[in-house]
Symmetry: C2
Subunit: 143 residues, 2 copies
Amino acid sequence: MKKEKEIFNQFLSRKNLRATPQRDLVLDVFLTREDHITAEQLYDVVKKNDPSIGQATIYRFLKLMLDAGLAREVDFGDGVMRYEGSYNHPHHDHLICRGCGKTIEVVDSVIEELQRRVAESFGFELTDHEMYLYGLCEVCRKK
Amino acid sequence: MKKEKEIFNQFLSRKNLRATPQRDLVLDVFLTREDHITAEQLYDVVKKNDPSIGQATIYRFLKLMLDAGLAREVDFGDGVMRYEGSYNHPHHDHLICRGCGKTIEVVDSVIEELQRRVAESFGFELTDHEMYLYGLCEVCRKK
DNA sequence: TTGCTTGCAAAGGATTTGCAACATG
DNA sequence: CATGTTGCAAATCCTTTGCAAGCAA
């Protein structure tokens, strides 16, 4: 069994929550995705396996995943929240093409260090950050 | 007259739009604010001067300001959009306290340069970016 | 059995839009 | 006067929540 499923089930029992076929199914679908996904996209895929599932179950599941530390929110500012798995998937930022929407995960340790320093220079202790780089990818630049 | 008002009026006539007392009033109020403001906050202040004004007018005004290049959107991820004047107010990022919500404008030219390089290393031409640094300010850290 | 879960539909909060009356250029 | 503009309320969009019925432990 996938490690994420173990962790999720441990999380459930630790919190006195229940393992249900719906949660199991949604988690399975969620884990097949490599990149971020919206609640609606997740719902659409899950529905193919279980047409009786409700959207609310998806939203509630995603909250649990955040709570369990197995997912992260990604906000591209288009009014829809996206979710990405965080198990074995360390922090990173996103590079997004304004032309086609393609996204690339990026990390730059120097930037991260400088962010901490900037925060400290104002007396802040940095807890986290969000950084979205928008641009035009190679393909879209030529259009 | 404030330079922003000139620019805004030029923008209106160039687009065949009309100068109205409502737009004038909302702009006046907007310009008194130094930092970012939500549509609702702007609405509340404007209402004190003209109780008959509608929320829609505020939202429509803000769109015009973006269009005119006189305002920018700031998204702290709490579900409400904020707006800040952009005339004589160059690009910057935000440092936000998770404790009290205080925000500080920051810029770091080295980070900016590295962002461009990261994008380029993936074949992207960087057009813009968003960076939000979250942390605990000096005061909140002691609580 | 107890209490968490589910699907449904209604409710929420922020923002947008249709419309008829009104004002600007 | 032709077109924009306004306030209002209704409509949207995404997400959350109340509830009665259904399950897991």
